[in-house]
């Protein structure tokens, strides 16, 4: 049965692995940027590779789900060949289990290899990622464009989670195929559900799987990262950089009593005098921040620290693999009871 599964799969496998090989070669030839340098400043070509790497690691699981998963069973249903396959001396369960295992393994390996290559290539950039602050923007232009690896969108394009995504997308495609029995329809549904699950996990699961850390941080000229001024001259938005490498989930200004407030209106003009753009302006005046601090205003930051990167990766991979296992069980069950 492994022979048949491989014989049917090898064309698709070669297409994806061939593309993968090309990508890895490109990454190896260009080599990781800024070796050893502590400053993150990329050429435009490097910048393109960096962004393309993230997109590809996100895209590969979707491609696997659509082109490996969805047609796995529907192709046999549409061509009627399942009637040939199921009448050899092999049960449907073994037939499907073999196909799932072989293709699933290939999916995990492909995603793992790509993630490994991209993670290696972008390692120095991830390490050099700085929290974005106004001060930093002024001193080193272009150096702060990179998110830390624990925060989206980088998190899903590094480490082991792409393996979980790929396996899940693949089994999702197979399940959609078994339920819908039409290749094109199953492909569309696979993509829609896969994206929906990723978004749901990003907003509803990942921030909460480990209770987020909280810190109150004094507002200083060095760490202020955003200041929005409303039409009436008050402060609409004020943010400071979180701890280095952290994924900041929420931030709010609190007063001496610990109550959430907006910063007093004078902060706007004090920190950033009108008609002066931050890039050309020297460091904001220190008195403002001293006054804010004296009045007890601080930032309360909720975040996932950089140190939790591997714990979050492990948990999220486990979640996707568990979902995959559940879907696999359903696929095998449906193949026995709902097909043809």
């Amino acid at each position: 049965m492994i022979w048949l599964a491989w014989r049917q799969f090898r064309g698709q496998a070669m297409a994806v692995y061939g593309l993968l090989a090309v990508l890895v070669v490109i990454l190896v030839i260009t080599g990781p940027p800024l070796p050893g340098s502590g400053v993150a400043r990329l050429t435009s070509a490097e910048d393109k590779v960096y962004n393309a790497g993230i997109m590809l690691v996100y895209g590969l699981p979707a491609i696997i789900g659509i082109f490996w998963g969805a047609p796995l069973v529907t192709r046999e249903l549409e061509a009627g060949t399942y009637r040939l396959a199921w009448n050899q001396t092999v049960t449907r369960t073994r037939w499907l289990a073999t196909k799932l295992a072989l293709t699933g393994l290939a999916a995990a390996t492909a995603a793992g290899l790509l993630s490994l290559a991209v993670t290696w290539w972008a390692g120095s950039i991830d390490a050099a990622s700085q929290p974005s602050t106004l001060a930093h923007v002024v001193s080193v232009t272009g150096a702060d464009a990179f998110a830390s690896r624990v925060s989206p969108p980088v998190f899903g394009a590094r480490g082991i989670v792409p393996v979980g995504y790929a396996v899940f997308a693949f089994v999702l495609g197979v399940a959609a195929g078994i339920l819908l029995r039409r290749t094109v329809l199953a492909m569309a549904v696979t993509l829609a559900v896969f994206v929906a699950v990723q978004v749901a996990v990003l907003f509803a699961v990942r921030p909460y799987v480990i209770p987020a850390a909280q810190d109150t941080i004094p507002i200083t000229s060095a760490n202020i990262s955003k200041l929005g001024v409303s039409g009436s001259g008050g402060v609409a938005e004020l943010a400071v950089a979180g701890p280095r490498g952290a994924w900041v989930l929420a931030a709010e200004t609190v007063d001496a009593a610990g109550q959430a407030v907006t910063a007093p209106p004078w902060t706007a003009t004090c920190v950033m005098p009108p008609r002066q753009v931050s890039e050309t302006h020297p460091v904001p005046s220190q008195e403002c921040f001293a006054k804010l601090s004296a009045l007890g205003y601080r930032q309360l930051v909720t975040y996932q620290p950089a140190s939790r990167f591997w714990a979050l990766q492990g948990i999220e991979t486990a979640i996707f693999l568990t979902l995959s296992a559940l879907l696999t069980w359903l696929c095998i069950r449906w193949t026995r009871t709902r097909l043809p």
């Binding site: 049965m1 022979w3 048949l4 014989r7 049917q8 064309g11 061509a79 009627g80 060949t81 009637r83 040939l84 199921w86 009448n87 050899q88 001396t89 092999v90 049960t91 449907r92 009871t337 043809p340």
Partner: protein
């Protein structure tokens, strides 16, 4: 006589429509059994149930002493060549033989290679490029080389030209003679069935109308032609399958075990085609009337 297939009150329902109802029959081993009936009568459903492709909604079916599709041992015993003889279009002829060899412990590779050679099929040809007849032969080769106890064929020759049809049936019959396997095949080409089958099942509107050995069926069915008379006056052992009347004459097709003694009748034998048509036509007529008219007609038959 051992039964290779035994169905009791078998039924299959798709969503809301019953494709097969209350089907009770036995197919003896060592025979070639033909399954005839109009389109949509449930032939494919019955065969799919026997092959384990479908699970029954009601009743039971037992094939070669086991539940269809219940495991590798059962799958090994039953070969199935599905309608339109599906093959993997992108796989070559020799790939298909390898598929058979890898997936069937009982695979007879010599038989498969001999057949492919004799048929003149190019082993490196993709199955998608084969003609309908060649594809049917390839599918039949897979079914035969598996060396099953029972081979089920669903309309194996329906799409073929007369020459290819004859070739497929010749090969099938040769395999039956050589390996002594039992065969159940469906077709609506009665002339083909008359040649290759020795056992017959007539399935009409999802019910079994009659089943038996063909020679026996032909010996017990007669066409009677005579002066017009009421069929209610016939002896109790003469079961009317079809009747037509003109103002003077009555023509009947009847089933009876006993000799026909009434000298008023001109008695003649009927061919298989007439017999099958008589049963199909009968149900169509009875079925179009009131629902209650149908039951007694069936009771008479049994």
């Amino acid at each position: 006589m051992t039964a290779v297939l035994r169905a009791r009150a078998l039924g299959k329902k798709y969503q809301r429509r019953w494709a097969l109802t209350d089907c009770t029959l036995e197919i003896p081993a060592g025979h070639v059994t033909g399954l005839v009936g109009p389109n949509g009568a449930g032939k494919s459903t019955l065969l799919n149930l026997a092959a384990g492709m479908l699970t029954p909604t009601a009743g039971t079916i037992e094939v070669c002493g086991g539940r269809p599709g219940s495991g590798p041992a059962q799958l090994a015993k039953v070969g199935y060549v599905a309608q339109d003889t599906p093959t993997y279009a992108r796989l070559t002829v020799s790939d298909h033989l390898r598929l058979g060899a890898r997936l069937n412990p009982s695979w007879d590779d010599a038989l498969a290679r001999r057949r492919i050679e004799r048929l003149g099929l190019d082993p490196n040809q993709r199955a998608g490029k084969l003609s309908g007849g060649q594809r049917a032969q390839l599918a039949l080769t897979l079914g035969l080389a598996k060396r099953p106890e029972l081979l089920i064929l669903d309309e194996p020759v329906a799409a073929l030209d007369p020459l290819a049809r004859r070739e497929v049936l010749q090969d099938l019959m040769e395999a039956v003679a050589e390996h002594g396997l039992s065969v159940v095949l469906s077709s609506h080409l009665v002339a083909d069935l008359e040649r290759v089958c020795d056992h017959l099942i007539v399935l009409v509107t999802s019910q079994v109308e009659i089943t038996g050995e063909i020679d026996g069926l032909l010996a017990t069915h007669h066409r009677l032609v005579g002066p017009r008379r009421d069929i209610a006056t016939l002896p109790a052992d003469q079961h009317v399958i079809s009747a037509s009347h003109t103002d003077r004459q009555t023509t009947l097709i009847i089933r009876t075990e006993a000799p026909i003694l009434d000298p008023a009748w001109t008695v003649s034998t009927i061919g298989l085609e007439d017999l099958v048509l008589a049963y199909m036509g009968r149900t169509a007529r009875v079925g179009s009337g009131s629902g209650s008219g149908r039951r007694p007609a069936l009771e008479v038959l049994r």
